[in-house]
């Protein structure tokens, strides 16, 4: 089996599992969900890291620098803000002193 077929399997199965898992998220949490998956897709940082740090040539390094910056904004900012949002959701009785 060629390698890319294997990648296709991984992609299809992950998309399927993802859809199943995510369809269980209630509308209440749809904004945090989007914010969280956004942070997770900042995983493109791992691709950008190699581009920025492999010293292929100056163009690659510069493109990599911008890509690393963008991906880091999503990872760091995305997780922080998702947590900040989730902290707001309180049950009855939780918030009255």
């Amino acid at each position: 089996m060629t390698e890319w077929v294997l990648w296709l399997y991984i992609f299809a199965l992950a998309a399927f599992v993802g859809y199943q898992v995510i369809s269980g998220v209630p509308p209440l949490l749809h904004t945090p969900l989007m914010s969280a998956t956004n942070a997770i897709s900042g995983i493109s940082l791992v691709g950008s890291l190699v581009t920025a740090g492999a010293d292929y040539n100056l163009t690659s390094s510069l493109l990599g620098l911008v890509a690393v910056t963008c991906a880091t904004i999503n990872v760091v900012g995305g997780f922080l803000i998702t947590d900040r949002m989730l902290k707001l959701f309180k049950k009855r009785g939780d918030h009255r002193s």
Binding site: H30, M34, S44, L45, G47, S60, A67, A71, G77, F79
Partner: protein, 461 residues
């Protein structure tokens, strides 16, 4: 040895990401889910730093420092009401990162790419580039820098189809002729242009669907990056993000009873033909109520359902809503909140704002859970919502929103509508709810009106 270690780390990270997302099923476990996903991210990044191609760290450190500073600043200072803008911006960052990595891969191998890899890079660059410009357009519209009205021109759909076909054909040609650099960069340019053209004609009320679709594209771009770099964790996370965006897009378009193609190519929200003269005449006879009138109605109520909409977000009125609800609850009134899936500018927008105002989430109800309760409720308090409470969606087959699930606010004994002005709502559709005999209109800034109501209620005691 290192390679299999990195692969193992990626595998563990992938599992943790999925487990983390599963924890978002409930607000009680949500924060644990974020912790798991953060741990996964840390593992994946740490493993990547061991990659044997990595030889210099100065660019990396510069990028990570700049990105962290911007990311942290945004996360701390951005108000919850600006969440749609922030999400749109971060989709554009995600798209740009994917596109740039693709361009770098292409330029580095300059023409010597195997067909599979060229296809992956082609999709990565196309999806990344159009997500980048499309999300920037969405951001501009949300910010009010670009008009929220759909901008259309006569050849718009034809032009879009030509661009889509052109980009697709370019990728197909590049697969067998990867050395054609001019075509590659032309394809990149067309993709940037496509993102602008597709989002520009979409109206503000359709933003929840657009943001969800862009979320999906950003995910697919990340997955394509994974194919191009043969990186498993990128493929898995891209697939998760893509699936999440796709799921939310479906939820949103169902809540509007419209298809994707109708939203993307329909330029909804232009002057509606069906806004007939009768309802226009009815509007002229519409009288606005006073705070005193509303006070009498609220004073006699035992149950109130609040229906928030984009107007509440625009006026930052969520805290005032909560003050009013607290006062009413002290008088023994039950207060519930009815949340329509497309109220606001992104999925879940209203829930986050109400949670920010310290309203307990078990007071917030989805449309299915609460729609039968309006009939037995004394007051429906509509705060800056319009199309989602338009009864025409149920009764008037001529209405552009006919068939869309709406909240049955008109069935409450009295309906108090807080509205900025008599201009029809975003979709330019007349709302006959406002002219019903049981409805009273309070015109003005929602926050100010609510504050006046709160003050008057306090004085009454």
């Amino acid at each position: 040895m290192t390679t299999s270690f990195i692969e193992l780390a990626y595998f563990i990270a992938s599992l943790l990401f999925i487990l983390g997302l599963r924890d978002l099923r409930s607000p009680e476990t949500g924060r644990r889910g974020v912790r798991l996903a953060e741990l996964a991210m840390l593992i994946a990044i740490a493993a990547t730093l061991l990659h044997n191609h990595l030889i210099r760290y100065d660019w990396i450190i510069a990028g990570v420092l700049t990105g962290s500073t911007i990311g942290i600043t945004m996360a701390i200072f951005i108000p919850m009401a600006k969440m749609p803008e922030r999400i749109a911006l971060s989709h554009s960052f995600g798209g740009l990162a994917a596109a740039l990595v693709g361009v770098s891969e292409y330029s580095r191998h300059a023409g010597a790419l195997a067909p599979g890899k060229m296809a992956a890079i082609g999709f990565e660059v196309m999806l990344g580039a159009l997500t980048f410009t499309g999300s920037l357009m969405a951001f501009g519209k949300l910010q009010g820098m670009i008009t929220e009205r759909p901008l259309t021109h006569r050849f718009q759909n034809a032009l879009n189809v030509i661009l889509i076909a052109g980009t697709g054909a370019a990728i197909v040609y590049l697969i067998s002729n990867p050395a054609d650099q001019t075509l590659f960069y032309a394809m990149l340019g067309m993709s940037f242009f496509l993102g602008i053209l597709v989002v520009l004609p979409i109206g503000g009320a359709d933003m929840p669907v657009v943001i969800s679709l862009l979320n999906s594209f950003a995910g697919l771009a990340a997955a394509a990056t994974g194919f191009a770099l043969s990186n498993s964790v990128l493929i898995v996370c891209g697939a998760l993000d893509g699936a999440s965006g796709f799921f939310l897009s479906i939820v949103m378009s169902k809540a509007m009873n419209r298809s994707f193609s109708n939203i993307l190519f329909g330029a909804f929200g232009q002057e509606s033909e069906s806004a007939n003269e009768v309802s226009r005449a009815a509007h002229r006879s519409l009288l606005s109520a006073t705070i005193g009138d509303a006070l009498v109605v609220l004073g006699n109520a035992h149950s109130v359902i609040v229906v928030p909409g984009f107007g509440m977000a625009a006026a930052h009125a969520q805290h005032a809503v909560r003050e009013l609800a607290d006062l009413l609850e002290q008088r023994g009134v039950t207060v519930k909140y009815a949340i329509h899936p497309v109220a606001g500018r992104m999925p879940g927008h209203m829930n986050v704002l109400l949670a920010e105002a310290n309203i307990a989430y078990d007071h917030l109800y989805d449309i299915e859970a609460i729609n039968d309760e309006f009939a037995g409720t004394d007051v429906a308090l509509v705060v800056g919502a319009n199309d989602v409470v338009n009864p025409a969606a149920k009764t008037d087959p001529q209405s552009p929103i006919y068939g869309m699930p709406v909240l049955n606010a008109e069935q409450a004994r009295s309906v108090i509508v807080l509205k900025r002005s008599m201009n029809p709502g975003f979709a330019k559709i007349e709302n006959e709810l406002f002219t019903r005999p049981n409805a009273m209109m309070l015109f003005g800034d929602a926050k100010e009106t609510l504050t006046q109501l709160v003050r008057a209620l306090k004085e009454q005691r």
